[in-house]
Symmetry: C2
Subunit: 365 residues, 2 copies
């Protein structure tokens, strides 16, 4: 955990959307910059599945954050001007309460006894941070990937809560292709015997299943175009060749990505967080997405999509922009031609930095 | 096995490209129509990974074949005019010798003692059938998917062997995206404890791994566009919901596809055949694909691609057509706008039947 991480502890039952409750929850977050006296410069970032709250370095923790080139003094989300808050999702294993947290009654991890989690619960937990900080209205809300879903749910819960909204490579609901990928990732984990119906020991995680899940993740996060240019049919010599695998550079790239992930992210937390994205549907119970978002009193929105993103395809960002625009929000869609697919917001800073900087400049004019 | 299946048995060692040999091999095939007196009307079909030789029904076996609407009397590949041969790939478990065949010395299946298999070996085994039938030159060679690779290898081995070549949703070599998918499918199988390093019992196949492999296959064979229209966010009630899965129609669709596959296809055969597609590179050892294909004396080629195919993307078919055209072959690329991705040649007959029929009409003019 980063030394810069702060925590909000909520005592008394936290009730989950699908039923069940926890006696108390902790939400981890990190902040940069100073909250203005009139509290009008707060920016909240909600994250994708795996990041913690350490989006960027600071004096308290000079280690590089997961969005280092975006957040900081003089950077696109400028911590000299904004009070930036990044919240670790409820259900994660990076500081906020999740299935890997200890059940105070049993002194064991919650695991499958953790209530069914939804995007709406993650949003409600983020609001605990905002209330704790005494913020009435955010200047901006920022959500890439799953974080964009959490932002939408938060806006549905707090329709007057933010003035501006930057949505990145996200969607109002998952389509079947994305569901199929995530469902198969979860199947790989729960069919690993080491999963043991959630009873895995700390010494033996279902790493074979996690490895497959992470590799399938990478396959869906990047793009065939990027890999064709980057790896082609290049052979690899980083790992010993295996029976039926590990001949090509693309295979060692995926293996290295899996190596970095497994052991870092609790399997039960991964399963809980993966499922929330399949289940979320901002338009559920409404006639249209526009109707579902109608109460939200945003001044502006920028939604950024990437042409090579197969997991969160750009037509979903276009639909989100259109629904907000239909409600009178000054909403704009920007498509970036990055080759890195869904992951572009984490790697293609040459394109993302100026786009995000321009939006943040525009909301202050 | 179909009653219509015939067999060529080759005694004496069959040597594999990467080394090793078998004391004898059997190649399964099926034929339709009559070979003309001058033997000029033979059409050979080489198949994708999983099909057997039963491409179409016949008097001997009236059951529907895997390419029923394409092959038969009056059909696009017209068995009233052509003598059609479909060959089951060497390495398969559908009649030709493969890793599931019995090693005569041990009376056990070969499994991992089967020599390393390549596309070139599959092509050489297909040639055993052609020699057995006394055919000097094929009127046409037809290869969808992996079968197209086998056709290319066969043409490299038999540069004067065919007059016309219909290539469908295939490539001269795999790109890293396709390799990543297949490598991960194989990883899912070999990390299933029931795989037992190839020592799985007949009662306990690595079906959990095979299930993941098949589902990942389907994800890569179809398209997100098809699924969006066909399934959307529809729920399912065919299977009991599971922990972290089986809520959506797309999940039950994949489950049913896996149910049909596992138990049908030997895991070791699957692994061997999957790998051949990663390894094949028609241009290996040459400066260009055109140079590699230069000796091939085809009169014409039609290469069909599908715009939504992510596994064998259409730029690969375009490159193949260009390489053949560079060598003076009357070569044409046809892109079909099917939504079914790589699988379109097996399901979108409204588009494939007229396209194939027109090509076969053209080669007789």
């Amino acid at each position: 955990m980063s030394k810069a991480t702060k925590f909000v502890n909520k005592d008394g039952p936290f009730r989950f959307k699908e039923g069940g409750s926890l006696p108390a929850v902790t939400v981890a977050y990190e902040t940069w910059g100073e909250l203005a006296a009139n509290r009008d410069n707060a920016v909240m970032i909600l994250t994708g599945l795996s990041p913690d709250a350490h989006a960027a370095s600071s004096e308290l923790d000079p280690s590089e954050g997961w969005w280092e080139p975006i957040v900081g003094p003089g950077r696109p989300i400028d911590t000299d001007r904004h009070f930036v808050i990044c919240v670790n999702s409820l259900g994660s294993c990076k500081g906020s309460t999740g299935p890997s947290s200890t059940n105070p009654e049993t002194r064991q991890p919650w695991r499958l006894a953790f209530p069914v989690l939804t995007i709406e619960d993650i949003a409600a937990a983020a609001q605990l941070v905002i209330e704790h900080l005494g913020i009435e209205r955010l200047q901006a809300l920022v959500g890439p990937s799953m974080g964009g879903m959490s932002c939408l749910a938060w806006l549905q819960q707090n329709p007057l809560g933010a003035r501006h909204f930057l949505a990145i490579s996200t969607a109002a609901a998952a389509e079947p292709f994305a569901i199929s990928i995530r469902s198969l990732q979860r199947e790989a984990i729960v069919t690993d015997p080491a999963w043991a119906e959630g009873g895995y020991s700390d010494d033996e995680w279902p790493i074979k299943g996690m490895r497959i899940a992470r590799k399938l993740g990478m396959i869906s996060y990047r793009s065939a175009v990027e890999w064709r240019d980057r790896f082609g049919r290049q052979k690899q010599d980083k790992y010993e060749p295996r029976l039926f695998g590990m001949n090509f550079a693309i295979e060692s790239y995926l293996e290295a990505a899996a190596d970095r992930f497994i052991g870092q992210f609790d399997p039960a937390c991964y399963l809980y967080l993966s499922r929330v994205m399949d289940w979320f549907d901002a338009a559920e119970g409404f006639d249209s997405l526009a109707q579902a978002l109608a109460p939200i009193a945003l001044e502006s929105n920028l939604t950024i999509g990437v042409s090579t993103d197969v997991l969160w395809p750009s037509h979903q960002q276009i639909a989100l922009t259109a629904a907000l625009a239909e409600n009178g929000v000054r909403s704009r869609y920007l498509e970036l031609p990055s080759v890195q697919g869904h992951d572009a917001f984490l790697v293609d800073y040459d394109r993302f930095c100026p786009a995000i900087e321009a939006y943040f400049t525009s909301i202050e004019e």
